[in-house]
Symmetry: C2
Subunit: 341 residues, 2 copies
C-alpha cells in the first residue's frame, strides 16, 4: 500500500520581499528504503502559520533558515506506515515536523522530534497541532503566567481570531476579564463577538489607537501581542498603570528578512510602570502536559471554540502560506495531504 | 539684604533640532512684593540634567513643555529669605523646582512643590538633588526592585558615570554582582574602575555590542538603561535567559521632539524570556524616605561615591545643559547661583 513515489514541496528560493508562490517547488521523489531505526510517516495534515516565514527568512527556535532545495518546514500529524524502530509501530498516530511532504522518513537524530499523538481517538488528530498542541499552552502560559490577568482587567489581543489569539480571548473571558479583540475582517469580528468578546476592532478600516482609547476608558491592563508593528504601538499608547505586555508573535514583521520595526513609543512603559515580557513556548516544553490537563475540561465544556481552515492537497501549501500572511485564513490554516490519522 | 532686582533665564524659543544657547535668554527682573502665604527662596544651586530637554520639548511628568518666555525648569536647593507663610521661616533650607533663577517666589498652589531640605547640616545641601534626592532612590528602586539582581549576576549599566548610573553600578557591586559600565570617555571609565566596576566600555570608540559579548560571555542578566537608542539595541542583543531590562532614561532620544527610535531587536525579549520594565521615581514618592534610610549607611561607609560638576553663575546655565547633552559633564551637573544653603 506504500507507493513508490510521493510529492514534496521544497524551498526554491529565499523570499526577497514578501513570500511568493515562486519561492516553492513541488517535486515528485522516489520512496526511499528504510534502514534499521527508521520510521516512515504518511502525513495527514500540516499546519501553515506565520512562523513558517520565520523559518524561511531567519530560522525558528535558533535553527538556521530552511535551506534552499530542502523540504519546507511545518508541524504536522500523520500515521506511521512502516517502521524499523521498536518505539513506533505501523498505525501509530504521530505529531512532529513532517514538513510539506506527503511522506517523511525519520532517521537518526531526527527521530527525537517525532512524538506519539496521545489525543484520545474521539478527538480529531489535528487538535495536536493547535488547541492541544503548542497553541493552547502558548495562549494559557502567555496570558495566565505572564499577563497575570485579574478579575475585571481589560485584556487586549491582536490577531484575535487567529489560532493563539482566539484561545487567549476565551481564556481571558473565562478568567473574568473584559476582552478587546483586534482582527482584520468583520466576519472574524462577528465570530469573536459570538464567543463573548466584548469589543472588536477591525484594523483594516478603523483607527486602532482611537478605538482602543474609546473602548478601554481605563486603559489596557494586559496586551497580548501577536503582530508587533503599528498595532503594538497603538497598544503601548493606551496602557493602564502597571500594565503587562506579553510578546508572543510579530507577524507584521515576519514578511521579509529586514530588521523589525521597534515600537517608537516603548518609553510609554516608563510612563505607566508597565512591563513588556517576551515568551516562547519552546522554553516551556516540560509544562505542556500539565497545561493541556487544564485545557481539556475547558474544551469539553465548550469554552474553547476553534476553527480550522483546510485546503486539500500538498500542491496548495504555498497558497496556504500566502493566505496566512495576508490574513485571509479564518481559523488554523491546515493543508490536508491524506485521509490518514 | 534682599536685592530689588535679580536675574533669571527664560526659554527664548523651542529647540528645532538640538538645544542651543539661543534657546535661552537671561533677563533681569524686579523683585516682586510678597502677599500673604508667599515664600521667597534664594537659589543656592540648580541641577541641570537630561530631563531638562524633555521639559523643553515634551514636558516632564505629564506636564506641558515649559512655555516660551517662562523661567526654565530645574530642581534646586536654596534658602528661604522672606516668608509670609507660617510653614516656612527665614533661613529654612529648601528643595524644589527653583528653576533657572536667582530667586523664586512660591505662591498659591506652587507652594506644594516646595519641601524642607531635611539633610543634616553636616551634609552638603546639594545631596538633596542627587544621592539623597531622586537619583539615589531611582538607582535603588530601579535596580533592586525591578532589576532584581542576584548574587553573581552580570549587571550592565549605560551612562554609567552619570548621576543615576554611577549609583546603580555601586549598588550592584554592593549586591555582589559583576558590573559592566558604558560611558563616553576614558576618564569616566577610569573613575568607574576605581569604584570597582569590573569592565568599562567607551561607546565613543568601541563597538558596544561586540564588547558586551566579550566581557559578558554568559549574557547580561540585568540591563539598566539610561540612554535608549543603539545602546539599548546592543544590550538586547546580549541578554542572558530571563534577563531583566529596566528602562529609566532615554537620553539619546531626548535631543529633539521627533519620535523615539524603538529598539528594532525588541523581539530578543522573546528569544530570551526576558522582561523590559519601565520605571519612573515620580510613581514611588512615598517610598523615597525609606530608601534614603537604606542609602545613608552606604554613603557613610564610602560605598556610594559621587561627583559634582559645578559651573558658577546663572549665566552659565544654558552652557551647562549643552555640556550635559554632549556628555561633557563629569558628575552631577550643577549651576551654583549663590553661596546660600
Amino acid at each position: 500500500m506504500i507507493p513508490n513515489k510521493y510529492r514534496q514541496c521544497v524551498v526554491a528560493s529565499r523570499p526577497e520581499q514578501s513570500v511568493t508562490l515562486e519561492n516553492f517547488r513541488l517535486e515528485t521523489v522516489a520512496m526511499p528504503d528504510l534502514v534499521d531505526g527508521d520510521v516512515l510517516v504518511q502525513t495527514g495534515s500540516v499546519m501553515v502559520n506565520p512562523p513558517a516565514v520565520v523559518a524561511l527568512n531567519r530560522g525558528v527556535a535558533k535553527q538556521p533558515p530552511v535551506p534552499v532545495d530542502s523540504v519546507m518546514w511545518g508541524q504536522g500529524v500523520g500515521t506511521v506506515v512502516a517502521s524499523k524502530n521498536e518505539s513506533f509501530s505501523v498505525g501509530d498516530r504521530v505529531v512532529g515536523p513532517l514538513g510539506w511532504s506527503e511522506y517523511r522518513v525519520f532517521t537518526g537524530a531526527e527521530l527525537a522530534q517525532l512524538r506519539q499523538n496521545h489525543l484520545p481517538a474521539e478527538v480529531p488528530a489535528t487538535l495536536a497541532l493547535h488547541v492541544l498542541g503548542a497553541s493552547g499552552p502558548t495562549a494559557y502560559l502567555g496570558l495566565i503566567e505572564h499577563g497575570k490577568p485579574k478579575l475585571g482587567d481589560t485584556v487586549l489581543v491582536s490577531a484575535a481570531a487567529g489560532t493563539v489569539g482566539s484561545l487567549v480571548c476565551q481564556l481571558a473571558l473565562a478568567a473574568g476579564c473584559t476582552v478587546v479583540g483586534i482582527m482584520g475582517s468583520d466576519e472574524k469580528g462577528e465570530w469573536l463577538s459570538s464567543l463573548g468578546v466584548q469589543h472588536v476592532i477591525n484594523y483594516k478600516r478603523e483607527d486602532i489607537s482611537a478605538r482602543i482609547a474609546e473602548v478601554c476608558p481605563n486603559g489596557v491592563d494586559v496586551y497580548f501581542d501577536n503582530v508587533g508593528g503599528s498595532t503594538l504601538e497603538a497598544a503601548l499608547s493606551n496602557l493602564a498603570m502597571h500594565a503587562r505586555v506579553v510578546l508572543c508573535g510579530a507577524t507584521s514583521q515576519y514578511t521579509d528578512a529586514s530588521p523589525f520595526k521597534g515600537p517608537s513609543n516603548y518609553f510609554d512603559l516608563v510612563h505607566n510602570e508597565a512591563t513588556m515580557r517576551g515568551f516562547h513556548i519552546f522554553h516551556y516544553m516540560e509544562q505542556i502536559p500539565a497545561v493541556i490537563g487544564r485545557l481539556v475540561p475547558l474544551l469539553k465544556a465548550g469554552k474553547l471554540q476553534f476553527k480550522e481552515d483546510v485546503l486539500e492537497g500538498i500542491e496548495h501549501a504555498p497558497a496556504a502560506l500566502l493566505r496566512v500572511m495576508d490574513g485571509k485564513n479564518f481559523g488554523t490554516q491546515l493543508v490536508k495531504m491524506s485521509a490518514t490519522s
